[in-house]
Structure formats: structure tokens, C-alpha cells
């Protein structure tokens, strides 16, 4: 009887487990990857697949790194919008690092956008 109860508990728990999520992955951004803009963006928005803490955000343009200040003590979130400094026309690469709130894994990525002169 006890074994059957344990088995039923185990199976019901397994069946009730929700859909599988994983590392926090960047789902979309504004500016989007490979976007060609006519005006310099005032903000940068990152949307992740799950709640995460943003650990590092750097915009690289013309070989120079522009570190974007982030609140590393803020609560985990799926979306982050951060103000950008004035960007001159050119090509920019955004490098981000995040820590997933649920699984504790570190994820990184890059994407690019350009501003026409």
C-alpha cells in the first residue's frame, strides 16, 4: 500500500511538472539584432526567455567599449530597459551577460545594430 502511494505521488508529481525552461536566453531586443537605424536610440531594451539578473552590458562601437550602468542588486526580471548615452552614426555591438533566477546559470550573448550617418 505504502509503495503504491509513493508511486502515485511520484507519477503525479512528474506529470504535474511544468513545461521545461532553461538558461535565460535573449528573445528580443530594441534595437533588434542587425537593425539599421536612422536615429540614435535613446534606450536599449532586452527581453529574456525567463527572469534573470543582468550582470554586464557593454556597447562596443568603433573599437571603444561603452559600459552601460546597471543595477546589479535589482530583482530578477524578464525585461530590462536601460538609457543609452548619445551614440554617433556607426556600427555597434551589444555584449550582455545574465544570470537566470531559477537555474542559476550564466548566459552571454551579443547582437549588433547600426546607425546611418
Amino acid at each position: 500500500m505504502f509503495k503504491n502511494v509513493c508511486l502515485a505521488f511520484a507519477l503525479s508529481g512528474a506529470l504535474a511538472a511544468g513545461p521545461c525552461l532553461s538558461h535565460a536566453k535573449l528573445q528580443s531586443s530594441t534595437p533588434a539584432d542587425s537593425a539599421q537605424l536612422t536615429q540614435a536610440p535613446k534606450t536599449l531594451t532586452l527581453n529574456f526567455s525567463e527572469a534573470a539578473q543582468l550582470a554586464r552590458l557593454v556597447v562596443v562601437g568603433d573599437g571603444k567599449e561603452i559600459s552601460i550602468p546597471i543595477d546589479k542588486t535589482a530583482k530578477a526580471s524578464q525585461s530590462f530597459t536601460l538609457p543609452l548615452p548619445g551614440l554617433v552614426p556607426g556600427k555597434y555591438t551589444v555584449q550582455w551577460t545574465a544570470v537566470a533566477a531559477d537555474d542559476g546559470h550564466v548566459t552571454k550573448g551579443t547582437f549588433s545594430f547600426s546607425i546611418a550617418g
Binding site: 511520484a10 512528474a14 538558461h23 550582470a55 546589479k72 544570470v99 537555474d103
Partner: protein, 291 residues
């Protein structure tokens, strides 16, 4: 796959060493608990030395993993000691897992004593240390995650029992005569039957929970690494079956030539076990199951 830096590789290697050393320490404690009456003092003291080295390596590698992950986050050496990065990691589950592991490793220190009355706290410590890896990782993104955590704990205990017994078994093959090696291998083999069955069943349940879309899963980097792990485990199981069905009966019949074969077989198992842990460290560090 995400961009991989030198810091990521270093963190991955430190994590693999943490797995190997922690599971080895737990395995030593379990091994002594079920085979103590068959062991002699020189073997006991060699196993205790192995346990001491494993405990130290587990503690150092565990701390190094957190520091290297912090360095990986910031991309430079200074980030290794950046309290905000370390704080983020510790708050996201790494802290809970590391605290449980250290508590377990400290309790497992009791097994270094020659007194058997300290065996119970040492076994509790070994269980805590081995299962500490279940408190961080992909399964914590499942809702609810209590059953997956329990199943992963079972999986880890079985791995510690099996892979953690290999080094003590190798020590025994170097010191004991054929019949005694046979008796110890037979006792391990009897217990391992149920343990390996639990390990496979728990692994299958975890796999089922992690796979959302089978076609996407197996074509992802995570799926490829997992397939590599499963293939290596299949070879490992074949060698373990050979040990149980062929070498152990030969040892029990007094065939001393089987001792050499068992040594080679255990060494091969240790290499394959290390490979499995390295692959596991890779798919828990640089990639994740696809959505």
C-alpha cells in the same frame, strides 16, 4: 551555443573536478560503510587518505567554480573577486548548493576517524555532499520542482555509490588477495545492481521532464552533449556488467589472473566516469535545454 571564453572553460573544468571529488568522497564513505568487515587496516588507511584528498579537492574546486563563474561573467580576472557578481551567483542557487556541499563535506570528515561510531554522521555528510548538486541547475526552472529535485538526488546518490566506489575498489585490487577482492567486488556488485537500476530510472525520468520537443531537443547542442553522455554511460554499463558476470565469479573461484583484468577494467571505468562528469559539467555550464 553561447560564446565560450577561457573563463567558461576554466569554470567548466573546476565544476567537473568538484563533481568528481565530491562524488569520490561520498563514494569512499559508502564503500567503507558496506565493506568494512572485509577490509584490512592498510586498505582502510589508504581509503581514508583518498577520502581526505577528495574532501580537500571538493572544497577547493567548489570555491574555485564560483570564483571562475564570476570571472566568466565579467570577462576578466578582477571580476573573480567582484562581490556583486559572486552575490548574484550565490543568490541564484549556487550559494544554497555550495552551503549544503560544504556542510556535507565537513560531516564526511568524521569518516577519517578510525572509530566506527562516527560512521552515521559521515554517511549523512556524504548524502548531503553528493546531493548538493541538485540544489542548482536546469531542473529548478521546472514548475513544480520538488519531484525533479528528489529524482536528481536519487540519481546523484546512485552515481556517488557507483563511480565513488571505483577508486577504493582499485586500492583493494592492489592490496588484497584474489579471493578477498572477489568477495568485496561481489558485495559491491550485489548492491550496485539495485543502485544502477535506480540511477537509470532516475535519469530516464529527468530526461523525460527536460524534453519538451524531442526533435528540437536532440538536434540542440544540449541534446548532442547528452547523447554523448548516454553513449559513454552505455559503454560504462557494459564494462560494469563484464566485471559482475565474468571477473567477479572468476575471482571468487580463486582465479588470480582476474585481479589484473579487474584493475584494467576499473581503470577504464574511472576514465569513462571522468568523461561522463566532464560532459555533464559542459552541458550544465555552457549550454541549456532548448525551449
Amino acid at each position: 551555443m553561447e560564446p565560450v571564453s577561457g573563463w567558461d572553460i576554466a569554470a567548466l573544468l573546476a565544476k567537473a573536478v568538484t563533481y568528481a571529488a565530491t562524488l569520490s568522497a561520498a563514494g569512499c564513505v559508502f564503500f567503507v560503510a558496506y565493506s568494512d568487515d572485509l577490509l584490512q587496516n592498510p586498505e582502510r588507511s589508504r581509503i581514508r587518505r583518498l577520502l581526505g584528498a577528495s574532501l580537500a579537492a571538493a572544497a577547493i574546486a567548489s570555491a574555485a567554480t564560483t570564483l571562475l563563474l564570476a570571472a566568466s561573467m565579467g570577462g576578466d580576472l578582477a571580476s573573480m573577486f567582484d562581490s556583486t557578481y559572486i552575490g548574484m551567483l550565490l543568490r541564484a542557487g549556487q550559494g544554497r548548493a555550495t552551503a549544503i556541499r560544504f556542510a556535507g563535506l565537513i560531516c564526511a570528515l568524521f569518516a577519517l576517524s578510525t572509530t566506527r561510531r562516527f560512521q552515521a554522521p559521515a554517511i549523512i555528510g556524504a548524502i548531503l555532499a553528493a546531493t548538493s548538486f541538485a540544489w542548482v541547475g536546469h531542473i529548478h526552472a521546472l514548475r513544480p520542482n520538488s519531484l525533479p529535485t528528489f529524482v536528481l538526488c536519487l540519481h546523484l546518490l546512485a552515481v556517488a555509490f557507483w563511480l565513488g566506489a571505483l577508486a577504493p575498489l582499485l586500492i583493494v585490487t592492489r592490496a588484497a588477495n584474489g579471493a578477498r577482492v572477489g568477495a568485496i567486488a561481489a558485495r559491491f556488485g550485489t548492491a550496485a545492481l539495485g543502485v544502477v537500476a535506480a540511477l537509470i530510472a532516475a535519469g530516464a525520468v529527468l530526461l523525460w521532464l527536460l524534453i519538451d520537443d524531442a526533435a528540437r531537443f536532440w538536434s540542440s547542442d544540449y541534446g548532442w552533449l547528452l547523447a554523448g553522455k548516454l553513449a559513454t554511460v552505455a559503454v560504462l554499463l557494459s564494462i560494469a556488467a563484464l566485471n559482475k558476470l565474468n571477473l567477479t565469479p572468476r575471482l571468487l573461484r580463486g582465479d588470480v589472473s582476474a585481479v589484473g583484468s579487474l584493475k584494467r577494467s576499473i581503470t577504464a571505468e574511472m576514465v569513462l566516469g571522468g568523461t561522463v562528469l566532464l560532459i555533464t559539467a559542459a552541458f550544465t555550464t555552457i549550454t541549456g535545454p532548448p525551449h
